[in-house]
Symmetry: C2
């Protein structure tokens, strides 16, 4: 038997192999409907749908979509509020292998038109709240196929109005993890929004990474009051069917309503941003109870930017199980999360990367030392592979698999992330990301504006609001009022500057780059005109 | 903006993309050591190791392995009892990207030699209990590199005796899910054992599928008293570091010890086979308590063949949270599991496939109807891609991604699997799979044996034991005693027939195929000689 050792590792090349190029899973919703058909999947104010209901809904709406010509790979804009039509659309598109492109409902007509064109959408689906906007959009883009998804109380189903079902539509029983589930638009330092490619695999890895960190209980109920057109909300719809748990979906955030829901719906997990949690606690105090939540609420997942320490301490006092997290569209929501067991010991930290995620801080192109601040970089299967049809943006953002977020932070000796600042120029207003470059571009599109700079200003209600500084053409008589009016059709309301200041020049570095962090210094005396 | 609709789905081929060919994750153990360094990872009778301990242990042992020449892709036999040396070896090999080949400690010298040769092992690592066997093995295979891993109480570390560490060994910080983690030998209907390729990805998908079904609680403790050389035991070592939970490892199964451990170690999950659970309940009754387990025991995961209904009903009476499951080496342990919420409603069923798994029953090459029996087939990323260097066996077992298990069962209208019989000829003795063809081959290797047939006989203690029927050469004076003695060096004790019957001929079908199911009919009168 001497020949045994003749086969050394070096003579074998079979130590890795790949079964197939892609990983196929059974469709998540379909599987839930088979496992637990009678369990409640989604509850809203109007209805409770079981997994069997949701599954049937997805198939039927998919058959209507097929009639519209929607098929594998089709890019479909969805403009709808948080409700049954949106939820049904998400699952129906998955059933066809079509790509969801959710539209931020707060965007202006111009912004939505630009986005639909940029993503090469072939159809636009709205709910009944956005039919007027849909009219406007299709007036400008008549070739866009249009559908209106409406919940019909009598059948308890969402239907596309006036569209027959295609019974022969090729519905997919499997999910290919490498396929794109959605394209989510987000801006960057460059100003123009870019479409982040979100694959099924990213959703899967994010959901599983979160479950390994927070624990998974088949009886969990996750409350969804974040917009479904952002990754933070959408990813809960997906966890719904990966975990097979119940979600309670709210159209809008109302602190009193949410506080009541936490009790009445036996909610165990809720995702919120700072401003929501602050309002919830204020509403809780107004109730004059004991200022606490029920014990079954096991996780308040807090995202959307660094939380004030006072808020975290208030939560600790009330035993609110707040779990800080850090994530972005490119990481399919949370990527770094403070485990509940570290909540008090590491107060103020965003925690440690979820299992699929690797984290490092880059300082001047070198991996930073512990406690040394730099750019937060992420890698792993829950991180996007890039931006849709923007190879340059992809190449400049992702190198060797590492995504440079642009956000600034450091890790301590134990590897816990502390986010110092979202991307240096990013303004977070009521949980929405506001990109100064995008506002500046809108201001600069006015022929009399020569320079424009935008930064955030602290605001008690929204966390931050954008303010702008402009330098006008010599002799211009443009009023700031008229300029605000001008940008109001070009920018969603939450992006419109609270005030615009007229200045003689903007702070720039030696190479002419705008120094947005210096803009605030212009405030006390520099304005030559009263702000609006 | 009319050009929007010009970009239809058909003109885009970017709706799927793959980031890279393989999925890389941070090393699971390393990640646990970073997340929760001070949390207990493994407790045995002797020690408790934190995740930091286990991580350091893995790195140090890997550096000793590197000195022996073990490297990426090396195939390394491990022959050790359930204990710290085995556990340390598993993680050290992962750190090097080397392939674990666990040896069943009950196999004979000949069987182990054959297996090491078949797998092209370059090294054999044993613990101190198997040094004599290691001497025998290396006597026959002198080129096999050998190491003895021993736990040293003073340093509280497992060390290879007399081997220095290679500080420059290339330790891997990442795990490639497509790489082979272990090769696990299992027999089939063909008689000779085959090496099942078990990838990191199979382990990952199995662990996550299980967590989604059973729930995952970061405070879980999983009791491991199954042999580590089988997939059922090994997969718990991997869940240990994927979940980041504590495991309590026992060298041997002793019902009283395990019952005590469930209380004292705050065990929440235990994996057992039927015979173990029966003994545990008997021991529980002997204690004259209330005949119940602590409430924190939330899952008794029961594998290793169909469980008797009386046992399941006994468990229901005692509120023992028994969860039936079905799996095999090729499916990286459990593939089908009865969710706790269905335990009573579907008593006797093995449940529904875990999330990554697809299940179907094939009856005469057609997918069976509900309630129609046939061969159980499995598909998904937790199912093996095949047998090591056995393309024919792989091709005949796996077709279009579907693994034909050979086991017989049916699914009901709700998709719940009922296992009627493990592979028709398979004998399960004390949780060990015993393959008649392998025993028959050993009997037939005796020059005076013309025909041999083996089947199982019910046994109160072991569930089943093998019995054999032989047809001898005319004029042979071979006694059954001598024949038993003959096979005892060729077959592990649990494979040795309890009795051998001398018969004039064996039941065969028209094409001469042995009908093992008919063998039992020979029992009452057919034996021409008293059994031994």
């Amino acid at each position: 038997m001497n020949e045994i050792a003749a086969f050394t590792a070096n003579t074998l090349n079979t130590h890795t192999y790949t079964n197939t190029g892609t990983t196929l899973l059974p469709n998540w919703l379909k599987r839930c409907a088979e496992n637990t058909p009678r369990q409640v999947a989604v509850s809203t104010r109007e209805v409770s749908w079981t997994f069997a209901d949701l599954d049937q809904q997805a198939s039927e709406l998919a058959q209507q979509f097929a009639t519209l010509g929607i098929q594998e790979g089709s890019r479909v804009g969805v403009l709808a509020s948080n409700g049954l039509p949106f939820i049904a659309c998400v699952h129906a598109l998955m059933r066809l292998g079509a790509i969801l492109v959710p539209l931020n409902v707060r965007l202006t007509l111009d912004e939505q038109l630009w986005l639909l064109q940029d993503v090469r959408a072939m159809a636009l689906i709205t709910d009944e709240h956005y039919t007027i906007r849909a009219d406007e959009i299709t007036h400008h883009s008549p070739a866009l196929t249009r559908g209106t998804a409406v919940w019909d109380a009598s059948s308890d189903r969402v239907r596309l109005q006036g569209v027959a079902m295609s019974p022969t539509a090729p519905l997919r029983a499997e999910i290919d993890l490498s396929a794109i589930q959605s394209i989510m638009y987000t801006s960057g330092t460059t100003g123009m929004p870019k479409g982040v490619m979100v694959t099924y695999g990213m959703q899967w890895w994010n959901a599983l990474g979160s479950a390994l960190n927070l624990g998974h209980q088949p009886e969990d109920c996750w409350l969804l009051c974040m917009p479904l057109f952002h990754i933070g909300g959408l990813s809960i719809l997906i966890k719904n069917v990966i975990y097979g748990i119940r979600i309670a979906v709210y159209e809008k955030f109302d602190a009193q309503v949410i506080n009541q829901a936490l009790r009445e719906q036996q909610v165990t997990i809720i995702s919120v941003v700072t401003v929501m949690l602050q309002r919830m606690l204020a509403a809780l105090d107004a109730e004059q109870g004991d200022g606490r939540y029920p014990t079954w609420l096991r996780c308040v997942l807090l995202g959307g930017g660094p939380a004030p320490r006072t808020l975290l301490e208030d939560c600790a006092r009330r035993a609110v199980p707040v779990v800080q997290s850090y994530g972005l569209t490119e990481s399919c929501s949370q990527a770094v999360t403070l485990s509940p067991r570290d909540a008090l010991r590491k107060l103020g930290s965003a925690g440690r990367p979820l299992l699929p995620v690797q984290l490092r801080i880059m300082h001047e192109d070198v991996v930073a030392q512990p406690n040394q601040a730099g750019v937060i970089c992420l890698k792993g299967p829950s991180i996007t592979g890039g931006y849709d049809h923007r190879p340059e943006a992809t190449a400049s953002t992702i190198q060797d698999g590492w995504l440079a977020t642009g956000d600034i932070g450091y890790v301590d000796e134990e590897g816990y992330l502390y986010v110092l600042d979202r991307r240096s120029d990013l303004i977070i207003s009521g949980g929405e990301n506001v990109y100064p470059a995008e506002i500046e571009a809108a201001l600069l599109s006015h022929p009399e504006v020569i320079e424009a700079g935008v930064c955030g200003e602290a605001d008690a209600q929204w966390g931050q609001v954008p303010i702008a500084f402009v330098h006008l053409q010599a002799g211009s008589a443009l009023t700031m009022e008229a300029l605000l009016e001008y940008v109001s059709t070009r920018l969603a309301r939450f992006k419109q500057p609270r005030r615009i200041y007229l200045v003689a020049e903007l702070p720039r570095n030696s190479s002419g780059k705008l120094l947005r962090r210096e803009l605030n210094k212009l405030l006390p005396a520099a304005s030559t005109q009263e702000p609006m």
